[in-house]
């Protein structure tokens, strides 16, 4: 899995097209009003599609910010 932050950013931009790059990197469910439950499922589905990597049900509860998602994917890549 290469260029993880860049590819995650692209998925964020698809789901939240109004965010600037620096806002994407700080984005979380608590800081972003448009990041509701539907956007959350759409975002994680878009990321799962981008990395061909399914998320588990508990991931949907835990991956609630850009840094957490990038960390999660980098961790997966290290253990792949």
């Amino acid at each position: 899995m290469n260029n993880i932050p860049e590819r995650v950013s692209r998925c964020f931009a698809n789901v939240f097209p109004d965010l600037r790059e620096e806002e994407i990197q700080r984005a979380s469910t608590t800081s972003l009003a448009t990041w509701d439950s539907l956007a959350h499922v759409t975002l994680l589905s878009a990321i799962a599609e981008e990395f061909a990597l399914p998320f588990e049900l508990e991931d949907f509860e835990e991956l609630v910010s850009y840094p957490l998602i990038v960390d999660h994917l980098e961790n997966k890549a290290r253990h792949a």
Partner: protein
């Protein structure tokens, strides 16, 4: 299309601006990715204006159908799942899967289909709707092994088939072909995790197939109007000029059934109103003799005209297009020779050329399926049946009319023009005319079915659907004029007339009646020149309709009456 591609298409499409084309996605589950993918497919098919997709609430398919029917949407996409038929058939229900509840599920399903059917009828009154029948696997609750169908599964399928058959007969309702969605195996359709997590039951690839199918059925390409076929080694096997009339074949005995299949397909297309013509490098007498064979699978008189000569085939194609009075872009040319196809394509770049694959049965099958797609339309109309005969009549009128004095000749036709002023939403022919006519067309603007129904709901709308018949037979409904009347002035937004009705001065009758019915002194026209509407432009010049300094095309009653010649036909008006 992937989910990320769909999101990117929607984000770039949102900047388009322009008229908003609202669609309603109706389902009982959470629409989630299906909505995203459907939205993106609509953006791809509707190149102008903005597109929006609305949806209803979770778990209430009939209620969502009611909301769609009340909405200003121009079209609805309805996706039915087993859980909409009975919630106990969904993964999110806890209603129990006991053997004894099965009769109750079957009984409930019957009532539910009835409710959905009623709600769909209300939607169809206001907009076109495309329906996807349940496509997920049924719950694994049969008493049989999975390889054996259970009685309950078969009963549910039977109820579904009966429901689909009933609604398929309702104008405006279209059912997605199940074989189209069966390209994704049943096992790859259900996303059980996403269903339990978010109430969305489909895998993304399957949701994409559903979304694409919905958009394909809703926004179909304009059907082709005519097919020009080669004869030797295409309509039949063999070169008739060499082997003789009796030795060309299309049968099992000679292993030439592929030509017989092609003949049957052409016969079917002709019976659905498709124009057929033959184009062959042959002596005309030889061809006529072969076409007279009684074992031909299509009626020889369904092929008109038959062009047989030794000139380049593009010359025959040009003659056929003149006779039909349609553009090359509405025509398919089939020939076994790639050289002939290339020659025709170079002269008529917009014609659709297909090579007849000879004895290769697989490729012939593919060709027949492609012909279905090229000529298919949602609804057959009376005018489809009349088309071939009226083209023959037009040819006869031109032949006789050119030798006779034209005004006297038109009067001798004993023609009757009927103008129907009723706003009838169940009548689909006017919209078809507006959306496929190019030559006598005020501006080339097309209207979706939903927009058409909004026009009919507007009390200021003036609409005339024009039919014509004379001693050569009926032409059916051949013209539409649509406009609004405000402050005593009629503004015509759409005016089309079939090329089959040209040269009869029907356009003067239409204006004459429009002035009288609207009791107006002036008609304004939303005219725009297109690269195809020269016949209408010529009529505007002849009738003295010109652009004023403000840029509006106007015709006053005084000017119209001053230059109008005697009208040759009897007029009938239908208002109630």
């Amino acid at each position: 299309m992937t989910l990320n591609q769909a999101l990117a298409i929607i984000n770039s499409g949102k900047d388009r601006g322009g008229e908003n084309k609202l669609h309603y996605l109706v389902c009982g589950f959470e629409p989630l990715h299906l909505k995203t993918l459907f939205w993106a497919h609509l953006f791809e098919r509707l190149p102008k204006g903005n597109v929006e997709v609305h949806n209803g609430v979770y778990g209430d398919l009939p209620g969502n159908l009611a909301m769609a029917a009340e909405s200003p949407a121009i079209a609805a996409a309805v996706v039915v799942e087993w859980s909409d038929i009975d919630s106990r058939l969904g993964l999110r229900s806890s209603g129990g899967w006991l053997e004894e509840v099965k009769p109750d599920i079957l009984s409930t399903a019957q009532q539910r289909y009835s409710h959905i059917e009623t709600a769909l009828l209300n939607v169809a009154r206001r907009m076109p709707a495309v329906i996807v029948p349940p496509s997920l696997p049924l719950l694994p609750i049969g008493n049989t092994v999975g390889a054996q169908a259970s009685v309950m599964e078969l009963e549910l399928e039977q109820q579904l088939a009966s429901f689909l058959l009933r609604i398929s007969r309702v104008p405006g309702l279209r059912i997605v072909q199940r074989s189209r969605i069966e390209q994704i195996p049943v096992a790859d359709r259900l996303d059980a995790k996403m269903e339990l997590l978010a109430g969305f039951p489909y895998t993304v690839p399957f949701a994409d197939v559903l979304a694409g199918s919905l958009a394909d059925v809703l926004y179909q390409a304009a059907p082709k109007k005519g097919l020009i076929t080669d004869l030797d080694d295409t309509l039949w096997s063999g070169v008739v000029g060499e082997v003789g009339t009796e030795r060309v074949s299309w049968d099992q005995e000679h292993h030439t059934q592929t030509n017989g299949l092609y003949q049957q397909m052409l016969g079917h297309l002709a019976s659905c109103g498709v124009l057929l013509a033959a184009c062959s490098k042959n002596e005309i007498s030889t061809v006529e003799s072969a076409l007279a064979r009684e074992d031909l699978f299509l009626k020889a008189d369904s092929i008109f005209p038959v062009c047989a000569n030794w000139e380049p085939k593009s010359q025959s194609v040009a003659e056929i297009l003149r006779t039909w009075n349609i553009g090359a872009d509405a025509v398919v040319f089939v020939d076994d020779s790639s050289m002939e196809l290339d020659e025709v394509k170079r002269v008529f770049p917009r014609i659709t050329c297909r090579q007849f694959p000879g004895k290769d049965a697989t490729k012939v099958w593919q060709l027949l399926c492609e012909l279905r797609d090229l000529f298919g339309k949602p609804l057959l109309m009376e005018e489809d049946r009349l088309r071939q005969a009226s083209i023959r009549a037009s040819t006869r009128i031109h032949e006789v009319g050119e030798s006779a004095g034209f005004p006297e000749f038109l009067r001798s036709l004993n023609g009757t023009i009927t103008l129907d002023w009723r706003l009838d939403a169940s009548e689909k022919r006017p919209l078809e005319l507006i959306n496929k006519t190019n030559q006598f067309n005020l501006n080339g603007l097309r209207i979706s079915e939903g927009e058409w129904q909004r026009f009919l709901e507007d009390q200021n709308t003036e609409l005339a659907v024009v039919s014509y018949q004379d001693k050569f037979g009926p032409l059916g409904k051949i013209a539409v004029v649509l406009g609004t009347k405000t402050n005593g002035i009629v503004k015509v937004s759409h005016w089309v007339m079939s090329c089959r009705a040209f040269s009869r001065r029907l356009e003067y009758h239409i204006l004459n009646r429009l002035f009288r019915r609207a009791d107006t002194e002036e008609i304004q026209f939303a005219f725009q020149a297109t690269d195809r509407n020269e016949p209408l432009q010529k009529f505007f010049r002849d009738a003295g309709i010109r652009q004023d300094p403000e840029g509006t095309y106007r015709l006053s009653r005084t000017a119209f009456l001053a230059q109008r010649e005697a009208l040759p036909h009897k007029e009938l008006n239908i208002t109630k």
